[in-house]
């Protein structure tokens, strides 16, 4: 065993120190120039059919850059990757 430097040894995580000191940056900790903030509005009703979403008032609010609904996703319900054939 002794000829190995890694196998059979307990190794500390490479990111252990920054995680123990709070330095580690998670996605929500990042601040970037011109960063926008998003907010998800969920349906208050389970299994409801969406008939219409009126986004006009939200779009008129000062500072709002975009209001995105199902109409903006080309009918794709989940994820951004095409399904494998």
């Amino acid at each position: 065993m002794e000829k190995y430097s890694v196998i059979g040894k307990r190794l500390p995580r490479v990111d252990g120190v920054v995680k123990a000191t709070g330095e580690a940056k998670y996605t929500a900790d990042m601040v970037l120039p011109r960063m926008l903030y998003g907010k998800v509005l969920r349906s208050p009703y389970p299994h409801a059919r969406i008939v219409h979403i009126d986004t006009s008032r939200a779009e008129r609010l000062p500072g709002v850059k975009a209001v995105i609904t199902g109409k903006d996703t080309l009918g794709k319900k989940y994820g951004g990757l095409p399904a494998l054939p």
Binding site: P12, D15, G16, V17, A20, T21, K25, Y26, D29, V31
Partner: protein, 153 residues
């Protein structure tokens, strides 16, 4: 309307203008850039936002910044002394008690306050002490080992 407050964080006094509705967590993270305290649930369930106030663990998502004036606040960023990790921080690393690390700052601070009051606890006491801090990776065994190792030093 914003209110002028002084916050004593990690031994430094910050003068800030904050809206009275903002939580200590928001002000720590957004105004002071101290992102070690995490926003997990933002409703006092998970313990990731734990900081020490006058040496006691508090949930910074449930405390207003304006209420925190004049109190000594310690966040995870203030725990290591000039590049020297605290015994708990080192122990968490050595025992593999950190995985994703999101709960780590809160648990280390909770454990610090606990060990400051009770330096030689048993395993059951440690479990009870960290009962308010959720970890979804490690299953707590290594976290408890890491805390007990410091207690036995």
């Amino acid at each position: 309307m914003k209110q002028l407050i002084e916050l004593d964080v990690n031994g430094e006094v910050y003068e800030l203008a904050v809206e009275p509705r903002r939580t200590l967590l928001e002000v720590l993270r957004e105004n002071l850039g101290l992102t070690g305290a995490k926003e997990g649930c933002d409703m006092g369930e998970c313990g990731t936002c734990t900081v020490l106030m006058e040496g006691r663990p508090v949930l910074s998502c449930l405390i207003l910044a304006v209420e925190s004036q004049g109190k000594e606040i310690l966040t995870i960023e203030g725990l290591a002394k000039v590049g020297q990790l605290s015994a708990l921080q080192q122990s968490f690393i050595d025992h593999g008690a950190i995985q994703c690390g999101f709960c780590t700052p809160g648990i280390i601070l909770t454990a610090k306050a606990f060990l400051d009051e009770n330096p030689h606890p048993g395993k059951e006491e440690v479990k009870r002490a960290i009962g308010g801090n959720l970890c979804r990776c490690t299953g707590y065994v290594k976290i408890i080992e890491a805390i007990l190792a410091v207690a036995q030093e």
